[in-house]
Symmetry: none
Subunit: 191 residues, 4 copies
DNA sequence: AATGAATGAGCTTTCATTCAT
DNA sequence: AATGAATGAAAGCTCATTCAT
């Protein structure tokens, strides 16, 4: 390999790729070095440890996700339709790349506190907040009943993501679409 | 170490312990050997591989859980109260030993199919089925609205478990109690 | 397994079998125990160590071989024909069970002196002696030239066995038949 | 151990050494690492597996041998004297380092096909070919009778090597010198 | 005597991290 | 800064041997 300028960004993207491809606990620094086309030593120049690098990779994946969701909602004004769109987009993303969603939740559940978990949690909280605000808007517009928005948002997010992930490999679990439609029906006012 | 009788059960329990204490992917055969106070070789005499042993440990944890839940529901007849009790008991168990619940879901989400995941899934499916039947009973008795029982059960189970796990370390997430009460209110008929 | 009388002979035979089947360095005490249908502990009651047992197994194989050769030569009186028969029979035996011949020479060549090697050597020496006497008889009867019987015998035995073994897997090496015929022609007197 | 430059060659030489000293099946990667004064990990950086490394070690030993023999024959033109020299040199080498010859034949005879055996075989075939060509030259020059060159060459090589190896520890076996002189006498034309 | 579960030293291999260049 | 070879601490697993029954 030639002497070259190494960018942190490139390493992080490679890390995200390898995480998605191999699964978080199969990642090796060699993999990342190869994927990024950067010497192993250079990685250790830019990052203190494999762990610190993984955290960046995880954060990158989560940010990508939120970014794409926000973009998809840009032109929708009705809270109810916004909510449906958000859940549908999320489902689509899970379908396309279940592994990285999976990784996110796996992390969330990774035993024992560690920084990686914090990063994952951060993302879920942001995501729940987003949903919760949409619901509040819907309540204000009388599209939704007077429910506890945080509670319902949490339920919707967790159920939708997990059912999507599980459904991916297990057809016996009800589809996330069926579930979120049922939940939205329950919270909707009779028109 | 002195020559002693080694029981498979003891090894499995030790495995469950170590899984809960260290996290599934940090478990080493040495740990288990030490925890069970049994020579490493003896473990390999009773189990073909570390993986096979881990599966037994996971199954043990899951079975313990279902067993305890069933026991708690024995004397309750009203479906609605049964459902509330089930979720409450489940929450209590999570509070006492969040690690093993966590491990179960972590497994469920463990990247790439493997037998361990199957075992976890088995448990969740059984659990969802149980909840789903309680809901159906409730619908028959007009305690609940005409909802899609499977969908609501899946949502309840996943939300309750996950919120419980997350809440354990993150107070910003709404409590599982708040969530399941909201959901039950939504599906209940007006009295 | 039931409580039973264990015979040393049975264990040795099983050992010989396993050696022939798996190759000397792949043999495990478990294999022998299974083949002999005898508990592992019982083997250690009768034999001090795996090594000692292997020696018995090797000796058994070698003795079987010499025994069968002697039997085949019983009714032949002409030294020359005796010699040809001996080499032919030996070749046949190699063809049928190359592994145990192979094992014998492998042992002979096993690095560093050890008892197993002595046993193997013992057999080869006996074998060379037998051939050498046949040659001496042949010289006395003027069937063979005045050669150094020991030297020729050694050459014949080593060449025949090794060429047989090698030939078994490598067709590029001349066949043992071709070689021993050439050697016998060289030492024979013109009739 | 300090950070140092590790050469593949040094590892291979160390491997050859350890093979010669301990015997092929007693070699451990730790031994090699110690002999080469190189970290175990470094060995695995340069070689995919212990097996691959052993093959290199074996090849190294064999090549050394052929190289030295060819060198010794360079200035001799008479086939007969060439042959005698070759066998004498070979004997000398066996005397100096019987273990590595021994290893070569042990491998040849190692039960069941494997790459290591192939490597050994390769060497023996080359060696037999060399001898066989010398004999053919001798026949052309009427130094030798009209014998089957391949057959005699095989016999000479196998006998000489093996007798040398065996003789090394067992004085009862005729010396290789005695044997090859006898064989050469047999194939030589009367002057 | 016979049994087979129990023991633990020892093996190969992986991989995060270090460091000479 | 960047490189990639070098390091060595684990890890999973095997199997000769021991010993309670």
């Amino acid at each position: 390999m030639k002497y070259q300028k190494v960018s942190k960004e490139k390493i992080i993207e490679a890390t995200a790729s390898v995480i998605a491809r191999e699964g978080l606990d199969k990642v090796t620094v060699d993999d990342i070095s190869q994927e990024a086309d950067v010497a192993k030593g250079s990685i250790y120049f830019h990052f203190d440890s494999k762990d610190k690098l993984l955290i960046e990779g995880i954060r990158y994946i989560a940010e990508q996700r939120v970014f794409r969701i926000r973009k998809a909602l840009k032109n929708i004004s009705s809270p109810k339709r916004k909510l449906i769109k958000l859940l549908a987009v999320s489902n689509l993303m899970i379908k396309k790349d279940p592994d990285s969603f999976l990784m996110n939740y796996a992390l969330l559940l990774s035993s024992h506190k560690n920084i990686k978990r914090e990063v994952s949690l951060e993302y879920v909280q942001k995501y729940i907040l987003l949903v919760s605000e949409i619901i509040k808007d819907g309540i204000a517009l009388r599209q939704f009943k007077q429910v506890n928005a945080e509670a319902v948002a949490t339920s919707l997010v967790l159920t939708n993501d997990l059912a999507g992930i599980l459904r991916f490999s297990e057809k016996q679990i009800p589809s996330p679409q069926k579930i979120y439609k049922e939940l939205i029906k329950l919270i909707s006012t009779r028109k």
